[in-house]
């Protein structure tokens, strides 16, 4: 009896840990904040938004109680605008550009965007309708932010759109890859519904290259948009990687969003390898699964981390610890389970091609840490096989596209989202993918329109 009570208590504690952390604006807060917006002309916040949301306009609409119009203004520019309201690094984008930074405090643009889109979600509003059918068909490979964004735009332009999604649900990273306490799954799924109700067919559980071939797509559709995102976390290629207790951050986060939360990490010691946003998600998720100690291990220093500043702050607030200048050399186990990890100290050498100082091992500096779980968050593999099946030119799995048109080396294949991100000093953003998808859709439209014009 007491055991069960204990279990129930643990389960509800874990569930509470995975509730959205940032509270929504209270009604008065939203109105006060909306009225504080200056409604700038040619506003810098719009320019700072990759999808160019007309921010002063949607905020004005909150102030006048036109929440439907507000949500529409947001989602028109960004088909995943409800998710972006929660996951965008706003202080680096819109809020960072707000002119009030110079006079008082920037407007809470992200939270106002959430206020308007939450209203649309709560009131089950249908924001957009499909355009008049033009009889043309477009296939989209991948139902993540880029693919969905393109699908929405193409549907509005009258195309018959089919999205091929390998997973059980569409939404990609937003549905599976961002921790629930920052982005609840229902927000991402609402965005999917908005697009599905426009008549877009989303074939889930369908892998292009396995269940349907690229040739079939190219035969049945006038154009194909490759927006397949990225693959699994790569191997560390060190000893002990197959031990029980070695996880990858993406699967770890996904499990917390798709399965009942487990108490396997309760009171355990966890290390996370890597220092991008996925590493932070892996670390905070571990902490919230009850791990006693969570350490992020990074071979460079604080300065070179690719995670957003607010993510770093958030992880520290969650009690995640950081160890710089260490790299794993071996995972140690007993009876098939992780018991420790051997690390080597690093120092920074000359800058690499991206300008980040290269970590170099300090010989003989190996030491062992006792751990129960090793979570890998060292980037993601690219879908090279799929790219090659389409016969597209690429550089290390990054699909090459024509500047401005998103057209690949194949005249009928376009690409958007993570498959074309070259990997800068920071992680690719959801809002960038949304922008790519939107622009690629318009490029496809322009190309197909031109094609259907009679040659004079």
């Amino acid at each position: 009896m007491s055991v069960r009570r204990e279990e129930t208590k643990t389960a509800s504690m874990l569930q509470a840990n995975f509730q959205e952390v940032v509270p929504a604006l209270k009604p008065k807060e939203a109105i006060d904040e909306a009225n504080r917006c200056l409604f700038c002309y040619d506003a810098p916040c719009i320019k700072a938004c990759p999808t160019s949301i007309d921010i002063p306009s949607f905020i004005k609409k909150i102030a006048t109680g036109n929440l439907l119009g507000s949500a529409r203004t947001i989602m028109e520019a960004n088909p995943v605008g409800a998710s972006c309201a929660r996951v965008c690094p706003t202080e680096e984008l819109c809020e960072g550009a707000c002119v009030l930074n110079h006079a008082s405090k920037p407007i809470m643009i992200g939270l106002l965007q959430r206020h308007a889109t939450d209203w649309a979600i709560k009131n089950q509003k249908i924001l957009f309708h499909a355009g008049e059918q033009n009889g043309k068909r477009v296939a989209i490979v991948g139902g993540g932010p880029a693919g969905l964004s393109a699908a929405r735009e193409l549907a509005r332009l009258g195309y018959e759109v089919t999205v091929f999604e390998a997973r059980e649900k569409a939404g990609g990273l937003n549905t599976y890859g961002i921790v629930s306490f920052r982005l609840p799954q229902e927000v991402a799924l609402w965005e999917v519904e908005q697009i599905e109700q426009m008549g877009v067919t989303i074939k889930t559980g369908t892998r292009v290259g396995v269940d349907v071939t690229p040739e079939e797509l190219l035969q049945s559709f006038e154009a194909v948009l490759l927006a397949a995102g990225m693959g699994a976390v790569p191997m560390l290629n060190i000893e002990g990687e197959d031990l029980i207790g070695v996880l990858d951050a993406i699967s770890l986060v996904e499990d917390t969003k798709t399965k009942p939360l487990t108490d396997l990490m309760l009171g355990k010691k966890v290390v996370v390898i890597g220092a991008g946003n996925t590493a932070i998600d892996g670390a905070t998720a571990s902490k919230r699964l009850g791990a006693q100690l969570v350490q992020i291990l990074y071979r460079r220093t604080e300065k070179e981390m690719t995670c957003y500043e607010f993510e770093y702050e958030f992880a520290k607030q969650d009690g995640v610890e950081f160890r710089w200048l260490v790299a794993p050399t071996r995972i140690i186990g007993e009876n098939g389970r992780v018991t420790g990890i051997e690390l080597m100290r690093m120092e920074l050498g000359e800058p690499d091609a991206k300008g980040r100082r290269r970590p170099e091992p300090v010989p003989g500096s190996e030491f062992v840490m006792e751990v129960d779980f090793v979570v890998k968050a060292i980037g993601q593999t690219r879908h090279v096989d799929l790219i090659e099946m389409f016969g597209l030119q690429h550089k290390n799995g990054i699909v090459e596209i024509e500047e401005g048109t998103y057209r690949t080396s194949h005249p009928h294949v376009y690409a958007a989202g993570d498959v074309i991100f070259g990997g800068g000093n920071t992680d690719a953003m959801v809002v960038d993918a949304a922008n790519h998808g939107k622009r690629a859709a318009h490029a496809i439209h322009t190309a197909l329109e031109a094609k259907s014009q009679p040659v004079l």
């Binding site: 306009s57 609409k61 006048t64 109680g65």
Partner: protein
């Protein structure tokens, strides 16, 4: 998508949002930009004998961190030659044939002067005329503008002259600087006006500089009263529109003007009898693009209620506006404080205690030691003050207490008493 087209006294417009005759409609460049932004119509800045303007013309009233709650100006009518204005109006009408272009006019009290200008502007194809009997500064000193609008007989006379030659509908713009606007509106109607527009600006002095002791604004050390407008004048304008809308002797369509800044303001004016609205200060504060939310918000409002056309709401609230003597004395509302959203600022308590009817108590909960605000409903007169000062929307609700008495207005009560008295007198 609701039908936003309006018809005001025969003047058709793609939507009810017009720019009022004022600085924003000074030139073809501006009006064309406004039409591009979505405004349905524009009343061109008043044409007349060219004048000379002073510099330092506007001033704003800022209050509690909000800018431009009120606005005042001493700019006069157009200071550009009539021919230049007419050329640009013609060009604008050609570029935007479906948009509404109204010529605002102000000339001397001479029949020939009115005939001449009416013919000139109608020759270029305007959709209607607006006679400016409203501007309170400068031109009024020369016997025009509000100097006319304060005399029903002058209004009637000049409208008659205009109507002798006008081919397009005539709107008469009225001044609020008058005791009862119905008298001047009736005069316009009697003179043959097709519509009235109200309100023009209110005589005002925005402020005095605490350091220089000069009026704001001042022109080389001297100031003169300006015309007041902006959100602060909306209630005055709305009342005047409603009073004219419910007056059968006025009986002509109304173009509502005065502090309209949002689609919500516009809906209120339409409900109270305006067939369309004119906007100036909000555009001067934020630019022409504010019309985008006005159109979008109005459309969503109508769609939400399943109302097909904006014309369907025109005047729908007029019958609810009456004289005090007709209000039900037996109607009772009292304040209810929702404790779950109350933030205990105690503003309702002190407002009631010091300035109303002393019926909101601060009660300490014996169990928790926490303070609560409790309304003694039997003493509450339903004045609304607490709900007005409460900073959290919806926390203080005024709820109706069903009455066991039948409705009884002051007028009915007095009539009943008089009847009783006459019965008594008869019995004696």
């Amino acid at each position: 998508m609701a039908d936003l087209r309006i018809n005001l006294a025969g003047i058709e417009s793609p939507n009810p949002f017009w720019l009022a005759s004022a600085p924003p409609t000074n030139s073809g460049y501006q009006v064309q930009r406004a039409f591009d932004a979505g405004w349905g119509g524009a009343v061109w800045k008043t044409l007349g004998e060219p004048i000379i303007n002073v510099t330092s013309r506007f001033a704003g009233l800022h209050f509690g961190g909000q800018r431009v709650l009120g606005f005042n100006n001493i700019e006069l009518i157009t200071d550009r030659p009539l021919e230049e204005n007419l050329k640009e109006m013609l060009e604008t009408k050609k570029l935007f044939p479906k948009h509404t272009l109204i010529a605002s006019l102000m000339v001397e009290h001479k029949r020939e002067a009115w005939h001449e200008i009416v013919k000139k502007v109608e020759a270029i194809g305007v959709d209607g005329l607006e006679l400016n009997f409203g501007c309170p500064h400068g031109m009024a000193e020369r016997g025009m503008g509000s100097a006319v609008g304060q005399h029903p007989d002058l209004i009637r006379q000049q409208v008659e002259w205009v109507k002798e030659v006008a081919q397009t509908p005539v709107i008469v713009k009225l001044t609020p600087n008058i005791t009862d606007i119905r008298f001047t509106a009736r005069a316009a109607s009697e003179g043959g006006a097709d519509a009235v527009s109200m309100i023009n600006t209110i005589n005002s002095l925005i402020g005095v500089d605490l350091d220089s002791w000069l009026p704001i604004p001042h022109v080389d050390g001297k100031g003169a009263h300006g015309g007041y407008c902006g959100p602060a004048v909306k209630p005055i304008a709305l009342n005047m529109v409603a009073e004219c809308a419910r007056d059968p002797q006025v009986g002509i369509p109304i173009s509502g003007i005065g502090g309209i800044s949002t689609w919500q303001d516009a809906v209120e004016f339409l409900l109270m009898g305006a067939s369309g609205v004119q906007v100036c200060t909000a555009a001067m504060h934020h630019g022409f693009r504010i019309v985008e939310d006005m159109i979008d918000g109005l459309n969503n409002y109508l769609d939400e209620r399943g109302i097909a056309s904006v014309m369907d709401i025109v005047g729908k609230a007029v019958h609810t506006y009456s004289d005090w003597g007709h209000l039900n004395l037996n109607y009772k509302v009292v304040a209810r404080i929702h404790e779950e959203t109350c933030i205990n600022c105690n503003k309702c308590h002190i407002a009631c205690e010091d300035t109303s009817h002393q019926c909101i108590d601060i009660v300490t909960d014996e169990m928790t030691g926490k303070e609560r605000l409790v309304v003694r409903e039997e003493d509450c007169v339903g004045c609304n003050l607490c709900s007005i000062v409460c900073p959290v929307e919806g926390t203080i609700e005024m709820v109706e207490i069903p009455s066991d008495q039948p409705p009884l207005s002051w007028n009915q009560r007095q009539a009943a008493l008089a009847a009783d008295r006459s019965c008594e007198a008869a019995q004696e």
